[in-house]
């Protein structure tokens, strides 16, 4: 949106853009750069932004640490499964609530939408009791399954499906297509944009989660990446260079994801229709 009266101030704009970008990204940049500093340099006084000597030692050390690599791999695998499962479960329900008529719909709608208003902390402790009663503690399943169904995501997708034109659906019904075919062959292919938005939200939620893994997982083979970082900080708090290198690598997948899909995310804000 180029609002013409600003044109003469273009130079100021450029400077402002650069300044804001540097400020917003400073903490991340400093984290990544500190990973390149030697142990002696990382906490040197007086403070210095760039290292005298760029060295890869911290990144090499953290990547040679089997628990770190395992945590990255298992969290990534979990996040991918979680994302796909959320999309399947939430999109199906969203389609049913948006486009189908069925007995008891208002009741089931309340069942599916009420959880949106339940803060995580209110059920965190009893969720722990429930999953332990189900014998799910210390499994990959307990990290994935409890969060798969999301009222907010279902609601978001339903808004999108409500706005799809009815004509195509009617034509397909007359041609004898089943509701499943309509959903899978017409609605799903049309939902790429919304799927990217909620898919990224799912991936981030899983990748960034910390408290739930801490509660339900004690098996080191299942340690999630944020759990690993927090443990590293409390146990080896003085090894800042390595911790910064590890944090950088742990933040990388989410940042890359955003850079790849940034177009969809920005549109997603408008799709969500918050205004």
């Amino acid at each position: 949106m180029n609002r013409s009266w600003y044109a003469p101030r273009r130079l100021v704009s450029y400077l402002l853009v650069a300044g804001i970008a540097v400020t917003a990204l400073f903490p991340l940049a400093w984290m990544a750069i500190s990973g390149f500093k030697s142990q002696a340099e990382v906490l040197r006084s007086p403070f210095q932004f760039f290292p005298d000597v760029w060295q890869l030692e911290n990144y090499r050390l953290i990547l040679a640490d089997p628990p770190f690599v395992r945590a990255m791999a298992i969290t990534f695998a979990g996040a991918v499964i979680f994302t796909v499962a959320s999309l399947v479960v939430n999109a199906m329900a969203a389609y049913a609530f948006a486009r189908l008529d069925f007995a008891g719909k208002p009741l089931w709608w309340i069942v599916c939408i009420t959880p949106m208003f339940v803060p995580a902390m209110a059920i965190l402790l009893t969720s722990f009791v429930v999953v332990s009663k189900l014998g799910m503690l210390d499994t990959l399943a307990v990290l994935i399954i409890p969060g798969v169904a999301s009222s907010a995501q279902m609601f978001f997708l339903r808004q999108f499906y409500l706005n799809m034109p009815a004509a195509v659906e009617e034509a397909a019904l007359i041609d004898g297509a089943t509701r499943w075919q309509i959903f899978l062959q017409i609605f799903v292919p049309q939902s790429l944009g919304p799927f990217v938005v909620v898919g990224i939200a799912s991936f981030l939620a899983y990748w960034n989660s910390y408290v739930w893994p801490v509660l339900v997982v004690s098996n080191p083979d299942l340690t999630q990446i944020m759990q690993y970082l927090a443990t590293f900080r409390s146990a080896r708090g003085n090894e800042w260079g390595m911790l910064m290198a590890g944090s950088t690598l742990a933040a990388l997948p989410t940042i890359v994801l955003v850079l790849i899909f940034q177009r969809y995310i920005v549109n997603g804000v408008r799709l969500a229709g918050i205004k």
Partner: protein, 330 residues
């Protein structure tokens, strides 16, 4: 018609395989019955299959824990003896416990620091981004969004590093001749020090939402104000802010409800200290549960439910406001 529906049915069943519950067997049975029952009943069956995974998962992992929490809040739970019904006793305990109110106060103070800062920052940034060329605007939108995807654990670690004695924060105030501070170990500075990463994590999404709102304001408003000689601040004050009233209200209320519930940042950065200065309500609940004192379970459950009552009510109100506006738009 039967032919056309019969063949792809099998295919559809295959594709739904990963969802688990609606198995192929069930699909077949539906198709057979479907020949006799009217179409609207078949829609029932399909709809039920489609919502079943959602209903079952939410039932087990949200509604059951919620009901269970209510149930347990009326009992005194102990590992050594049977649970004993105590009615509303725990509600009385929580509501008369000064620690509970102290934590609420900490949550409110944090919200007071974080939310207005985010709103002002987001308004300025969004107004600025709206004036940029398409490519620059795209660059800025991505830039402001990047911090929002960083986990609060990573943010907490970065900022603990920044607040180190030899860290960036002390170097920065040193430029103005101020002595080094023990940011996270001083009661007065600890909460503001936690608020900074909270702002950093939160301003991106608010900026994008405000930007969406600003781009919906008719450009002619700004143009005529421009002709009348209004400067940037006047345009912001008299056009942007009034036009964004609903967006700002939405961000204000969601911001407050979310910030009061913040607890991962203080958990990793300070664990509530020093002297409970950063003990937000959720962190207080979480820690009192981990304390393992005799009544910890029932106490923390009851506190969580009371907090939920307040926050849940606020959320329902926002939701009503937002969705009623949407329907009047359409």
């Amino acid at each position: 018609m039967l032919d056309t529906s019969a063949k792809p049915t099998g295919k559809a069943a295959d594709v739904t395989g990963p969802s688990g519950t609606p198995s192929r067997r069930q699909r077949r049975r539906t198709a057979k019955v479907g020949e006799q029952v009217p179409r609207h009943l078949r829609a029932h069956r399909t709809a039920y299959l489609m919502i079943t995974p959602m209903v079952v998962l939410l039932g087990i992992f949200v509604l059951w824990p919620l009901a269970y929490a209510f149930y347990l809040s009326f009992f005194e739970i102990s590992f050594y003896k049977d649970a004993e019904f105590v009615g509303l006793d725990f509600y009385t305990f929580v509501l008369t416990d000064p620690d509970f109110y102290d934590s609420l106060f900490v949550g409110l103070k944090l919200a007071l620091m974080v939310v207005p800062t985010i709103l002002v920052l987001a308004l300025l940034l969004a107004s600025f981004i709206a004036t940029l060329s398409k490519r620059m605007a795209a660059f800025m939108k991505t830039t402001v969004y990047v911090p929002a995807v960083v986990s609060s654990v990573v943010a907490a670690i970065i900022f603990v590093f920044i607040y180190q004695d030899e860290g960036f924060a002390n170097w920065f105030i040193g430029l103005f001749g101020q002595g080094p501070l023990a940011w996270l170990n001083t009661a007065t500075t600890a909460l503001p020090a936690v608020a900074v990463p909270a702002v950093w994590l939160g301003f991106g999404v608010s900026t994008l939402i405000m930007l969406a709102g600003i781009l919906d304001i008719p450009e002619s408003y700004f143009e005529s104000a421009q002709l009348d000689g209004a400067n940037f601040w006047q345009r912001t004050w008299y056009i942007t802010i009034p036009s964004l009233r609903n967006v700002i209200l939405f961000l204000l209320v969601t911001g407050v409800t979310l910030t009061i519930q913040e607890f991962q940042l203080p958990l990793v950065m300070t664990n509530g200290g020093p002297v409970n200065a950063t003990n937000t309500p959720n962190l207080y609940i979480f820690n009192s549960f981990r304390d393992g004192t005799p009544y910890a379970t029932s106490y923390s459950l009851t506190a969580a439910l009371l907090l939920f009552l307040v926050i849940g009510t606020i959320s329902v109100i926002i939701f009503r406001v937002v969705s009623s506006e949407k329907s009047s738009d359409a």
